[in-house]
Amino acid sequence: MPLSASEAYEPHEPHASHEPHAPHASKEPGEPYDLAVIGAGSAGLAGAVTASELGLTVALLDASAHVGGQFYRTPEPALGAARPEALHHDWAAFADLRRRRQATGGITHLAGHHVWTVARQSDELWAVHAVTGADGAGERPVRVQARAILVATGAYERQLPFPGWTLPGVVGAGGAQAMLKSGLVLPGRRIVVAGSGPLLLAVASSLAAAGAHVPAVVEATGYLRYARHHRALAANPHKLLEAVVHGSALLRHRVRLRTRSAVTEVHGRERVEAVTVSRLDGDWRPVPGTGRRIACDALAVGHGLAPQIDLAVGLGCATRPTADGTSALVLDGHQETSVPGVWAAGETGGVGGAQLARAEGELAAYAVAARLGVRAPRTESAHVARLRRRRDRMRSFADAMARAHAPGPGWPEWLAEDTDVCRCEEVTAGAIREAVADLGARDARTVKLLTRAGMGWCQGRMCGAAVACLAAGANGAAGAAGVAGAAGADGAVAPPGERRPLAVPVALGALAALEPGEPPEPPTSPESNDSPRSPESPKSPKSPVEPDR
């Protein structure tokens, strides 16, 4: 039984875990929060904690039951995990944030809240719309009002399809790591790790440390590309250290690193039995005759991460193409988006990892506090300056990594015509090429309209990059130039440029239970008369009903 709108709109949501409010950060019931933070990962948690320490009232919304986001995962209590830190890099920083969260008041943690849109209510007030409760008929709408928004919605794994990628046993590289961290389970016993990006080494290390045999890590770029950006590396010694740690762990477990190679086919009847690994040329084209079969029972694959920015795009925040062909939010030096009152931190501004996310979350909190008229103690100014320098240094490193791992333009050559590109709707590479060649599609959106690619459960998050690439690639010179222009000199995967006004699916019953609002645009003059056509209306003597046609 859905709650009535008024109940659902009570600011004291039944699922909220209220920390005791510090005297300086108390909120009258019904008053808006100073800050709504969307996403309780590294960026959001750091932002919420810092803002609360500065005296702001903060709502921290996240879909998950625990804080920590994609990176810091709390194992299910029933598993009795004694040392979650063993599976996590930099657990101490997370523990510190959790301790500070306990110490400060004023954070209302809204766990299990799936935010589907953020709407501007006035120049100084935002409404965050979420659903909570069981999926489907059990969903209830919740509206959280706030004077400022911090978008810390992280990233999702990017996939480039290849023949056989829909076989059971093929999992996302990030997904494999998440399964391990939160469920202490492995996707197989003999796991090939493949794709591109710095995450692969970390995933391989974790899997090997947890007892899996990892016959190969297959990386599409050559690590030599890092050398081109050695200045960024030198400025980020901890990243080098991280690489050495992973490297040595891989050596210890006898994991072979194959660079400039890709899994170009997966074999197996019911599930993965083996993969073919081929050498790639500089453009990621498979070199004929170089395929080698590697037996395995699972494949963990990922081609980097893509910022999860649907909510911000829905608000009209400007985006920029990243060097590896994703879309990230445009941010100023204070982490504010192009929409005043909306800040962002972490992967939404370009994928850069948990440490960068923490620094940005903190910086955003200081900026929000300043905007709302809360002055940070003088003693903090040196700290903020230090944070900025660290942020800038880590950002430049992140950009260097993105350039190094940008997919080459030749990757579609490993697709067969019958390879499913959109796995939700089972749309093949051949069908997409036909839509482009014969039916006049020139972009991912039109391909979607004509083939249904990207219309399924994942709403194109899984296939968007590949579809955009196939749509542009087959357009000939103009398309290719456009892609190169958008994705940077050495990237061929362009940002899909998708808009998803609903960031997550919402039950119709939950939408219907929303609090009634003002009519969007009441007719004010005969010229702007938008009243329904009806026999009674002299202006528009039409039918009693006027459906969309």
Binding site: L439, R442, D443, M455, P505, P532, E536, P547, D548
Partner: protein, 374 residues
Amino acid sequence: MVGAGVVGAACAYYAARSGLRVTVLDRGPVAGGTTGAGEGNLLVSDKEPGPELDLALLSTRLWRELAEELPPQIEYEAKGGLVVASHEEGMTALRDFAAAQHKAGVTAEEIPADRLHDLEPHLAPGLAGGVHYPQDAQVMPALAAAHLLRAAGARLRLHLGEEVTGLLTGGSGEIQGVRTASGPVHAPYVVNAAGAWGGELARLAGVALPVLPRRGFVLVTEPLPRVVRRKVYAADYVADVASGSAALQTSAVVEGTPAGPVLIGASRERVGFDRTLSVEVLRRLAAQATALFPVLAGVRVMRTYPGFRPYLPDHLPAIGADPRVPGLLHACGHEGAGIGLAPATGLIVAQALAGREPPLDIAPFRPERFASAA
């Protein structure tokens, strides 16, 4: 032909079939504007007797022919429409309306309350009755446009991603073609099929055509087995309008699709080309749709998107030659009915280009009819 939406595609199709060589230009892809945002409804049920209904009845016949000629991918479905009334007052108005339509050639069958669930098993209980319109049908609009263009054959050239920046005219002001960033395209006739942007193209030609965008949102649910068989919508805001709450501009139209998702429209607002999500519109459409089909309450909306109907002040399209500019024709301003009215529009334009008599009286669609008001 300026515009590669369904109207431009239908005009190109019929013109090419009558032997003309046609170039279709669009600054975007095929079906990149309102066509791509439409539900693909081919309706007679919502039209009162008059010129638009005549156009719709002709189109209904033409769509049936096209469904034979074009590949099945256009998802033509003669599914029929069902308009329901929730109380007796609304049913009376609906009955009168259907009787008038019947005289104009519409097939309309009254469905008493106790038979509604034979047609739509999941309808809410307690409705007063309805009218079944078997002529209502549906296509997948983007695929319909794409396949119309493809079926036009070798006489058609498609210039996508090319924006028309001006019109070429001769010494006495007659049309000689269009200008684009990549060069001129010469033709003695230019057809304005630019949909919601038709007013802009008219301005390039130096004439006024007051096309304005009228925004609507469509909600798309997760795929379902066939829960909704027809196009179902409620008629009972006749009474709402009479009671003065005319500000209500949402009327949920609920329908299933061959691919599985249920589509829910239709809202109407004049807010320019603003694509910002309106939470209030979503609330109203969801409330109305679940009132019709309570079973949908637990069904999730996967996505929503806005579209911009090309709106003209008298709710009728502008079709045919513009006497103010020799060689210029218009085929735009169909508001929310462009998919349905496309074939009849295309046929009228093709006939006009060939110097033949139109298939019906096109005086009500005269493009210059707003000139005196402007």
